[in-house]
């Protein structure tokens, strides 16, 4: 479980460093993603944040997600589904993705994955992600 208060604190610092403003929209969007393990898409974030901030626009949600990603506070889950899914958990873990319903489950790991040696042949390595895909128990019925 992510400590939301400390996440907000990091947002505060990173915004100051990047000359970006600490707006309530940024705080709410980050809070929403950090408080769930469902890896929501932009639309879901929008619907959820609207409950406490009825006039927020979908555009703002998309822009805010991009900003938070730039600041390194959240990242997109790699998938081949039409909608991008977001994750605020920066601890070493990977994902089980259901090919039928699109559900994303966390698989916790002791360490981040080491990139294969051949990787460095192609450029500077910034992240290494592992996805496990299959059919979740719910979809199997």
């Amino acid at each position: 479980m992510i400590n939301i208060e400390s996440k907000i604190e990091v947002l505060k610092q990173k915004c100051a460093e990047a000359n970006m403003r600490l707006t309530p929209q940024r705080i709410e969007v980050l809070k929403m993603i950090a408080s769930t393990d469902t890896h929501p898409d932009a639309e879901t974030v929008y619907e959820s944040v609207k409950e406490v901030m009825p006039f927020i626009s979908l555009d703002t949600v998309y822009r805010t997600l991009a900003s938070l990603e730039d600041l390194g506070l959240i990242f997109k889950v790699d998938n081949e589904l039409p909608k991008s899914r977001y994750d605020a958990d920066l601890s070493p873990h990977c994902h089980f993705i259901c090919l039928k319903c699109g559900a994303v489950y966390d698989i916790h790991m002791d360490n981040h994955i080491e990139p294969p040696k051949e990787s460095f042949k192609y450029g500077e390595v910034l992240q290494t992600n592992l996805q496990v895909k299959g059919i979740c128990h719910k979809c199997r019925g």
Copy 2:
């Protein structure tokens, strides 16, 4: 390098099994993807196939890609880029993806990746993919 003739042979068999027709469009789309290691997107496949088949439609390319994926002859490369990229190489390998230009390079491996044990908690595992992301040499200049 993929043996294209044997790929077409597999397409033939799989189509017969699945009560699907062996159309020239399917052959050309598969040929195109199997003959490159650039992991092209739908638009690129379309432009390329149009050279030998000028009246093919983009819709057919999309439908054909989906069919070939269903038959297990090609698969989508996991990424967070706006366009889906396709791969016909079924041997054990993963991808280096450049975050700047979107280039996808193959990283060959001796064996397919073992899914972490926790994976099975969530459902039936069908595939395990590893992506290495960074900035490629060309983009570093």
